[in-house]
């Protein structure tokens, strides 16, 4: 539900980068969504188009990657998946003794853009 705020932050960050690199037009943006982030992909996709209106990123493609939580279960000594995003129980043995590597961040990882050749 807060995706519009995230997208506005994203549009600001992209515009800052675009200014720094003499970008004519941003063509694509790649974003990683942390496993524990409560961000909805569809809503992000939807809001992103709105947030980028009137900026150099208007109409650009948004590639989202939803990251999975990496879990190691000490009880059954194996890599495991969580039962659901936030139920911290091993899906193999039901153990609660887990090491979980995941975060709740949303990160821009890559930008693709057309830069002005004259400026290079």
């Amino acid at each position: 539900m807060h995706e519009i705020t995230l997208c506005q932050h994203m549009a600001d960050l992209i515009e800052t980068q675009a200014r720094r690199h003499a970008v004519h037009r941003v063509t694509a943006v790649w974003v990683d969504i942390g496993a524990f982030s409560c961000t909805d992909e569809d809503a992000l996709q939807f809001c992103f188009g709105l947030a980028c209106r009137g900026t150099r990123a208007e109409g650009c493609a948004l590639h989202l990657r939803q990251l999975e939580a990496e879990c190691w279960c000490y009880d059954c000594q194996s890599d495991c998946a969580l039962m659901t995003a936030h139920v911290k129980i091993c899906s193999r043995c039901g153990g609660k003794n887990l090491r979980i590597v995941a975060d709740d961040s949303v990160k821009i990882t890559k930008l693709q853009f057309d830069e002005e050749v004259n400026n290079v």
């Binding site: 807060h2 519009i4 409560c38 590639h63």
Partner: protein
């Protein structure tokens, strides 16, 4: 809030919907580029083609090729945290609160769980011993801040307007207007919403989720992100337990399955039951 951010469509799924009926909004020409030439790519794969048919599209793509001669396409690998702006302000808040040894709690819940009543009862009990202040978040009205001020505690209302959560900057600005003494407690009553506030750090020491027994025992599973982000869950309105079907053990089990470390306290702001344990926890936390 849904009409604000479009979440009414985003990822919403009603049982019985067929997949191909979903995500229809991706094709809605929202961008101002709609009336211009060329396909407007909103999603990674979904292109919207304005009326005019394939010839216009062809022209547009030819024009695009011409453009590319003047520009060179480049890819830049970066790492930008989208929430970094909020996180930076939250860290600033946290530092400032720590300097004055203040305990700051972010109270979250769904609307109507009894946050404000719980807060007024808490403030009445702490009135003598601890300096308190309150930041009240609601979409509209100044009612809650007025209720808090009636207890003699300073309060600032933050209206988020169309927003569905408080953010670190709002707290920063509100906190500057509150005279909170050294070693005091600042309660931040977030907008009634079990979804969005989970992602926004305000600089608090703990998130406190208030769940009332009238809401159903499976809320921790339904809104797991919030319960996972909270250090403590207050189960409110327990004086109503004899009159409703609410499996308290199941509720605790669900909450712990989402967050094994969550501390759970059953309370009733109306009858006063369990309030002593909550007050003791606050006092202990203040000295921590």
């Amino acid at each position: 809030m849904c009409s604000t951010c479009g979440c009414a469509h985003g990822g919403a799924y009603v049982e019985g919907d067929r997949p191909e009926q979903e995500a229809g909004f991706n094709r809605v020409p929202f961008s101002s580029g709609f009336s211009g030439s060329g396909p407007l790519v909103i999603g990674p794969d979904v292109a919207f083609h304005p009326a005019g048919g394939s010839q216009e599209r062809l022209n547009a793509s030819l024009k695009k090729q011409d453009d590319q001669e003047a520009f060179r396409r480049r890819t830049l690998e970066i790492e930008l945290d989208v929430l970094s702006k909020n996180s930076a302000i939250a860290s600033h808040n946290r530092r400032r609160f720590a300097e004055k040894n203040q305990l700051v709690l972010n109270l979250v819940s769904s609307p109507g769980s009894g946050k404000t009543t719980l807060l007024t009862e808490t403030l009445k009990r702490l009135h003598e011993s601890v300096s308190c202040a309150v930041i009240e978040g609601d979409q509209q009205t100044l009612n809650d801040a007025a209720r808090i001020r009636a207890t003699g505690t300073p309060a600032i209302q933050v209206n988020t307007g169309k927003g569905c959560h408080l953010n670190a900057d709002m707290v920063n600005r509100a906190a500057q207007r509150l005279m909170l003494k050294q070693n005091g407690i600042l309660f931040i009553e977030n907008v009634g919403n079990l979804v969005c506030p989970a992602d926004f750090d305000l600089g608090e020491r703990h998130k406190v989720t208030v769940l009332s027994v009238t809401e159903g025992e499976d809320k921790p599973l339904k809104y797991s992100y919030m319960f996972a982000a909270s250090s403590i869950m207050l189960l409110n309105k327990i004086d109503l337990l004899p009159y409703i079907h609410f499996d308290i053990d199941k509720c605790f089990e669900y909450a712990r399955s989402v967050n094994p470390d969550i501390k759970i306290m059953p309370v009733s702001a109306a009858s006063g039951e369990g309030m002593d344990a909550w007050i003791s926890w606050l006092e202990a936390e203040l000295c921590a």
